[in-house]
Amino acid sequence: MRQAHNAQARGPRLGRLGWSLISLLALVGLWELIALIAQSRYMPGPTEVVQVMIREAEAGELWGNIAATLIRVAFSFVVAMFIGSAIGLALGRYPMADRFFDTWLIFFLNLPALVIIVLCYIWFGLTEVAAITAVAVNKIPNVAVTMREGARSLSKDLNEMAHVYRFGWWKTLRHVTLPQLVPFFAAAARSGLALVWKIVLVVEAFGRSDGVGHQLNIAFQLFDVPMILSYALAFIIVVQIIEMAIIQPLIARATKWRR
């Protein structure tokens, strides 16, 4: 009875891991097959791409470019989360402000990323500040909308409790308000990070002389597909490692009280 139960519990877990592996192998296999059939220098197979990636990593170019991109991602992410949260919380708390600024928010939500990037470079020059501003401005409206939802859903009951027990503003913020916003903050961070990764590359391709985006732009001009794919692959791996090593544990820690 007990063994049967154990086997059942272990079965699906092994299965899920196995499925991921099978699915990944199938993707690589399909890719190899297409490359074999195509026999074109514009469709390299996985082995060739990995070789290029290793060569680039040893030459030192790959890591330098990925590091440059990561630093831009980090800066624009932090700036966007900070400003977006502040705007979102203010709109969620003050209905008058919300009524007034709602149209502005819709305007910025629908402004194409490319327009923001081009305008930032024109107005502020081809500088690092312009690059980070462009990425942050793209993401701020999304963060603001999510955090506004969070501020609207704050519990009146808990606020009254905090008032009766004389929590004061700092204790209320730390123990009552912020914990309620964690799920919204996590959602904004995750969807936001996915967006920032992509926009940073575009910003780099347009007006920076290092970073993954810049390198992809050069490879594009040379039609160097193995280079493009090797950078893409390295980038996917780094993003996944950050997701699993930093973001998921942080979210798990913040929500450990849940049943």
Binding site: D157, L158, E160, M161, H163, V164, Y165, F167, K171, H175, V176, P179, V182, K256, W257, R258, R259
Partner: protein
């Protein structure tokens, strides 16, 4: 006779909720006036939606949009409130929820282990509220109120939606905590047996706009309160049921 400072003196001339959208305004309280003697256990009872919770919110300072005045016997009195739902912070442990009612470094923090023992939550001190039963959550809310050593304790149907034995056990726990450290209590309930078992005085509110329809003392000794027959007899005397 020396004048006794009353811990609480309530006068609410009028309380009305303004109309919101389609909903008409609601006149809930009218001409309410009563003084509370130190250490008394005042039951407030009356029809549902009759403004009992509104009255507690006004006394607690959560609602200051009313005509009248609430006066306390001491400056900045220590008020504790046990709400209808436990209103615990789900992301803080049982211990933290109780400790947060006090300022940091407060000497009363040292009383928490003893208090946890008395409400039977020593084992659950590090559990999160969602992981324990509703009855246990209500005990945490009681402990949070008593750790303050309040001058005034407000309770708004704190034992609803519990099964009878659990509610009974919690009432006994409340009586025990209260007799160890008598404080002035205002207790809202629908349950007439509960009212007679706990209260020293019962205020019955009329239908809305509510005003005080009756103000009767409960004539039961502490020992009599454990006796179901005597409680039932007193209930008949006050509420006049067959």
């Amino acid at each position: 006779m020396a004048s006794v400072t009353r811990p609480l003196s309530v006068r609410i001339d009028k309380k009305e909720f303004p109309s919101v959208g389609e909903r008409p305004s609601n006149h809930v309280l009218e001409n309410i006036s009563f003084d509370v003697d130190p250490g008394s256990f005042v039951i407030i009872t009356g029809p549902s939606g009759g403004g009992k919770s509104t009255m507690l919110n006004i006394i607690a300072g959560l609602d200051d949009d009313y005509d009248g005045q609430v006066e306390f016997g001491s400056q900045g009195p220590n008020i504790a409130f046990v709400f209808q739902s436990p209103r615990l912070l789900p992301w803080r442990t049982v211990y933290e929820n109780i400790a947060l009612a006090l300022p940091p470094d407060d000497p009363r923090l040292a009383n928490i282990p003893e208090l946890l023992k008395r409400v039977g939550l020593t084992e659950a001190a590090n559990a999160y509220p969602e992981m324990i039963s509703l009855g246990m959550q209500r005990r945490v809310a009681l402990a949070r109120a008593f750790v303050l050593e309040p001058d005034i304790l407000l309770m708004d149907e704190p034992f609803v939606s519990l099964d009878d034995p659990t509610a009974y056990a919690l009432r006994e726990l409340l009586v025990e905590l209260w007799s160890r450290r008598p404080t002035t209590v205002l207790f809202v309930t629908h349950d007439r047996a509960e009212a007679v078992m706990l209260g020293t005085r019962i205020l019955r509110l009329s239908a809305g706009p509510a005003t005080i329809a009756e103000d009767v003392p409960v004539q039961l000794s502490v020992a009599d309160r454990g006796d179901r027959e005597k409680v039932r007899a007193e209930q008949r005397r006050i509420f006049g049921e067959a």
